[in-house]
């Protein structure tokens, strides 16, 4: 095991001022002990309940003042600002964290259970989603993690769950009577993505019928908005609530298994069933293996992780332990091409800075093609080289490297920095190219854009 691999492949990149030395597996163990689910940068971030309320207020203002956008301009800006400041906070945490391995896993799960700020309802909630649904559960059990995800307002809004109404529920019947021409009813989006992306995986053994059944079970999972009083909604505005009057009555059959529970318990039971299924173990094992051992990870590693998932009953710490112990993750070659996010974070850590307030995070990330929490689909950002190693992307990284070097080169000597960051991954060719650069700035930029630094 070597320090360079530990910190670059498992952590978020080396900070030359960091005195956190790597000796052995204890480096990982210590991080699980000192990990804070709510680091300083997000201590005062607004929670999802406040954000939903703000959102509903803006909608209300918009509805009442269609011709006078001035009235809701300020309120709408508050929502945009929340997204921007959470993006900044995320970068700040990543650059300064003393638990980089856990932080990497937060990003991993956030992307596995992706929401996208492309959807206007989700934009302001995206940061709160990671902070509330992912961070507190990253060292817990997979079942707790997914429960947090599926009941979070951001996910419910992103995958259209809040509109899903059981056709035979009280609410469904009433609506059908009042609006006979209007199509209302089930929305399968969340149910499908839970099976396809979050748990079982695309060939995980479920059918369309199973998706529809699950969607029926999930009816009633929604956000309290204060407007469904006629349905008896008693939840506090902005919170997750189970709305019995929207729930499709009856028992469900999923993959041949019968679920007789009623109400919210039914959806929860199916979720638990899916989360514990061997197909899920395989799906998660494959994604984790790909993240740490290369785009085409060895089958031996996938098997180990799958076994660990099953035997620990989804205990994430046990699975991580299997992961870091596996020699397949410690091969000397750099096996992964960094995503833009990983590359930016590691570049800034390499500058040895302790805060990121001078960086316009959203602009920089947009330029690099990976705005936080804004993947193009519920699948999240791709985790393979072909998605990131492209001509224009490389050019943008070069330009960004040049800018980073301009901003932060002050106390650094690239000749000394290069071996610190890359250890024996530093090739003679790169070393010479850096030493021949015509200025410190140019030397730093070359280091950040070098083949070794683009990979981990």
């Amino acid at each position: 095991m070597d320090e360079i691999i530990a910190k670059n492949r498992f952590g978020l990149g080396i900070n030359p001022r960091d005195n956190d030395s790597f000796q052995d597996m204890n480096w990982f163990e210590k991080q699980t002990q000192i990990y804070e689910a709510k680091p300083t940068a997000i201590k005062s971030s607004p929670n999802s309940k406040e954000i939903v309320r703000q959102y509903l207020e803006v909608q209300e203002l918009k509805r009442k003042n269609k011709d006078n956008p001035q009235i809701f301009k300020k309120e709408a800006k508050i929502l945009r600002d929340i997204y921007l400041s959470e993006t900044n906070n995320r970068l700040n945490i990543s650059v300064t964290t003393n638990t980089p391995f856990i932080e990497r896993l937060v990003h991993f799960w956030s992307n596995h259970f992706a929401v996208s700020a492309d959807k206007i309802e989700v934009r302001a909630l995206a940061g709160a989603y990671e902070n509330e649904a992912i961070r507190p559960n990253v060292l817990g059990n997979f079942r707790d993690l997914i429960r947090g995800v599926v009941t979070h307002p951001a996910m419910l809004a992103y995958l259209d769950q809040i509109q899903s109404i059981g056709p035979n529920s009280m609410a469904g019947q009433r609506r059908a009577k009042n609006n006979p021409d209007k199509e209302i009813g089930l929305n399968e989006n969340l149910a499908r993505e839970i099976f396809e992306l979050h748990t079982l995986g695309v060939n995980g053994g479920y059918t369309q019928q199973d998706v529809t059944e699950f969607a029926r079970a999930l009816t009633g999972f929604t956000i309290a908005n204060g407007k469904r009083k006629q349905f008896g909604n008693s939840g506090e505005i902005g919170n997750f609530v189970f709305e019995p009057l929207m729930h499709e009555p009856g028992s469900r059959t999923i993959m041949g298994k019968k679920f007789n529970q009623s109400g919210a318990d039914q959806g929860a039971a199916i979720l638990e069933f899916a989360a514990s299924h061997p197909s899920t173990a395989k799906n998660i094992a494959t994604k984790l293996a790909r993240h740490f051992a290369g785009d085409n990870p060895p089958q031996t590693l996938i098997d180990k992780l799958k076994q660990s998932f099953i035997s620990s009953n989804g205990d994430l710490k046990s699975i991580y332990l299997t992961l870091i112990k596996a020699p397949e993750c410690w091969v000397t070659n750099n096996v992964k091409f960094k995503t833009s996010w990983e590359w930016l974070v590691s570049s800034l850590r390499a500058m040895g800075i302790d805060e990121t307030s001078r960086i316009e995070t959203p602009t920089v990330l947009e330029n690099l093609g990976q705005t936080s929490w804004q993947p193009k689909s519920p699948k999240g950002f791709d985790d393979i080289e072909d998605a990131w190693a492209a001509p224009d992307a490389l050019l943008r990284r070069a330009e960004t490297a040049n800018l980073i070097a301009k901003y932060f080169d002050a106390p650094l000597n690239p000749n000394q920095l290069a071996p610190k960051l890359l250890g024996n991954h530093l090739s003679e060719h790169t070393k010479i190219a850096i030493s021949r650069a015509e200025s410190i700035q140019s030397g730093i930029a070359l280091l950040l854009i070098s083949p070794e630094f683009l990979r981990r």
């Binding site: 224009d392 090739s427 083949p451």
Partner: protein, 374 residues
């Protein structure tokens, strides 16, 4: 050529601490503008101020030799790309110091620039620079000295307050970096291929350089022309590390500098008469051309001093010659004039302070302050 007729003031080590609280030597504020332009990458002095009459010049430079320079005197000619600067020379508003270098005698860009900006004898000695220390010994000005770049360069870093400004609409000419990246990816087939494609696309949509230089010159001039504007400024120029394709690259870089100076002068208007500009590089390049149409890291180079405030029209040098036996370590132009002395001299002249006092207060080791016998 001005033969060595310098009034030498003794060399010695510094008595005052470089971090001592500053006090003003000049009695009252004058309105001099001082601009330091650093050429990063080691500019080739021998092809900028060309010793055309040196019998060995053509021999050692071969196909790199510049034949069509504008004659400055019986020994030296100015690179033909420097048209504005040549006009200044004719008007006695430009001088050149040849075979000059900082005390640095090795060949690392980083260390060389660190010493050129820091004013130290060893690289990374302190984290502050000579221009900042100079600000400490002149009366406080109406506006803070300014670096026209994103960050404060080492020369201006220190206890005295300075600022920086870099407009985002001026194209960032990082051609040098882009070229180096191609080289960096030589052994990585995938990245190399991607990079070639990226560059091809990039070149299609581009037409900068000259315009960028004029915009920089205009911007700097407009800042320093203002009655309440800054009086001390620094700019950096990149791309001087010409290991290959030197003639084209040097021509382009010099054109940019010349364009920037022309625009600066126009924009400064009357204030040009109160302006001193020093252009210097961390070290020079090998006397001999290398095998790839360029030159490698060397030692002495030339510095340019421009502005209406100087009594110019001269090439100052204690010319060591280009005979093999005269070359420093058998390969480079030998340094005969301390660049720090040159800087001290012109700063002193510009701000009415004894150059010797300037030297004592801003450089770690007091240089030979050569008072040019003008």
């Amino acid at each position: 050529m001005q033969r060595r007729k310098f009034l030498q003031i003794g060399a010695g080590t510094l008595g005052l601490s470089l971090l001592a609280p500053s006090f003003s030597f000049a009695n009252e504020a004058n309105d001099t503008r001082f601009i330091f332009i650093i050429q990063r990458g080691a500019a080739d002095g021998l092809n900028i101020v060309i010793p055309y009459a040196d019998p060995n010049y053509r021999n050692i430079r071969k196909e790199l030799a510049i034949e069509n320079g504008n004659k400055l005197d019986g020994t030296f000619a100015l690179h033909p790309a420097l048209q504005n600067i040549y006009q200044l020379y004719l008007q006695k508003q430009a001088s050149f110091v040849h075979a000059t270098a900082s005390p640095y005698r090795e060949r690392s860009h980083f260390d060389g620039q660190n010493i050129l900006e820091g004013g130290f004898t060893r690289a990374y000695e302190l984290d502050n620079g000579w221009l900042n220390r100079f600000i400490g010994i002149i009366p406080k000005q109406k506006s803070e000295p300014i670096a026209f770049m994103q960050t404060i360069p080492l020369a201006m870093r220190g206890t005295n307050s300075v600022t920086s400004y870099a407009p985002s609409n001026i194209p960032d000419a990082n051609e040098d970096l882009m070229m180096r990246i191609s080289n960096l990816y030589e052994n990585d087939a995938k990245l190399y291929d991607l990079w070639l494609k990226a560059e091809a696309t990039r070149n299609m949509g581009q037409s900068i350089s000259g315009q960028g230089a004029a915009a920089v010159g205009k911007m700097v001039g407009s800042f320093l022309a203002k009655p309440d504007g800054p009086r001390i400024a620094m700019i950096e120029s990149q791309g001087w590390d010409t290991h290959s394709g030197q003639n084209n690259r040097l021509n382009g870089n010099l054109k940019d500098i010349d364009t920037a100076i022309g625009a600066m002068k126009t924009e400064l208007g009357d204030a040009w008469g109160k302006t001193i500009i020093i252009i210097a590089t961390e070290f020079g390049r090998t006397a001999h051309a290398n095998g790839t149409g360029g030159t490698d890291h060397g030692t002495a180079s030339c510095a340019m001093i421009l502005g209406g405030k100087i009594e110019g029209g001269k090439v100052h040098t204690d010319w060591p010659g280009l005979a093999q036996s005269s070359l420093y370590e058998g390969r480079d132009l030998k340094p005969t004039t301390d660049l720090f002395g040159v800087i001290s001299y012109y700063l002193g002249k510009g701000f009415n302070i004894e150059p010797q006092k300037v030297a004592q207060n801003i450089f770690a080791q007091v240089p030979n302050v050569k008072m040019f016998n003008a």
